[in-house]
Symmetry: C2
Subunit: 197 residues, 2 copies
Amino acid sequence: MEKQPSFITQARREQIIEATIKALDEIGYKSISLAKIAKIAKVSTGLISYHFSDKEDVLNNTLVYLLKKQYDYIKEKVDESKSAYDQLITFIDTSLAYQGTHYVHNVALIEIIFNARTPDNIPYYKVSDDEEDPLYVLLQEILQDGQKTKEFSTFDTKNVSIIIQGAIGESMLMNQENFNLEAYKNELVTMVTKMVK
Amino acid sequence: MEKQPSFITQARREQIIEATIKALDEIGYKSISLAKIAKIAKVSTGLISYHFSDKEDVLNNTLVYLLKKQYDYIKEKVDESKSAYDQLITFIDTSLAYQGTHYVHNVALIEIIFNARTPDNIPYYKVSDDEEDPLYVLLQEILQDGQKTKEFSTFDTKNVSIIIQGAIGESMLMNQENFNLEAYKNELVTMVTKMVK
DNA sequence: ATTTATTTTGATCAGTCAATCAGATTTTAT
DNA sequence: ATAAAATCTGATTGACTGATCAAAATAAAT
């Protein structure tokens, strides 16, 4: 039986993870150092090594933390809707809204996904599979449900998931000044409706 | 008047840039070093410094090189089509095809865009504007043309450009094994047709 | 053939950083 | 109160890397 980590350990780990997120936003993956994380978290560098096996372990845990937060946020909202169509719109709305409300988290997510590599040196963005990624699974399930209930027409749910996720993801990369998130949301909802109905 | 770089200089610079692309694919932006680039290019580290001001200069020139290659490839094909609709389909086809034929170039492009930062530490992916990016401009022009000639319905060309570019870009990140690029291309063309017609 | 300019090498230097660890501090158990 | 365990610090170490530069090799000019 595994021993539960103490509350102090849990709190420290979260504190270090939050500092890592902030550091990723400020200086990026390439320049991040344990010293920088320690400074933001206001702890010593040694403490990071005490709570994590190494730097990679810190970043892996930060990635898991970020993915879970994002998924939980979206999943909770989607579950409030009943029809497949409403769920689909909620999925889009919430995904886009998350970018506004959790901007720094999104930046950190991008920084890790496009830099972290598996032990055999394969980048995460090449690994991340639409069959593993819970958000992809959720979106595909919504589309499949809609086809079952005849709300949606016939199309390949996997490919349409990729189109929608791509359209959502692309807006993350938009320059905030020249970009009207609300207008984009409306346009995307209109277009997705044309696609699936 | 500026002196033209000699042929040797031009050839060496391209050799180093091609080695950089290969290195980015192999070990990624984070781990890339002048020593690694030098090893792949089969030259000494000092030679890189002789032809480029610093490491950042190497990567900036590699980015420009990659963007130009991609744009030229797509632009040439698009210009062969006449109607706006044909151009739009060609744009999608060619963009997706480029990923297949120039896979390593695409990986290198991703590695740089999501890591390189401006002197004031702003990531390129936050800078890259749909108003500057030639590919975005090209796509928006196609959409605007189609609206002028009544081939397309009314919609916001900027936002729809983002949707289409997102759908194209997302497929770059797909695991090659479980992903049928040809089927995706067909689905995307179908969906984009529904969107713009 | 000789001088001058260009190109290339690889050793060296200075700086950075991840990881370690001996010892200090705090918490928990007895 | 005391011992044991857990938590934390910050200096140190060893490895790595970008950039420099003196000297060598090559090419071009005279």
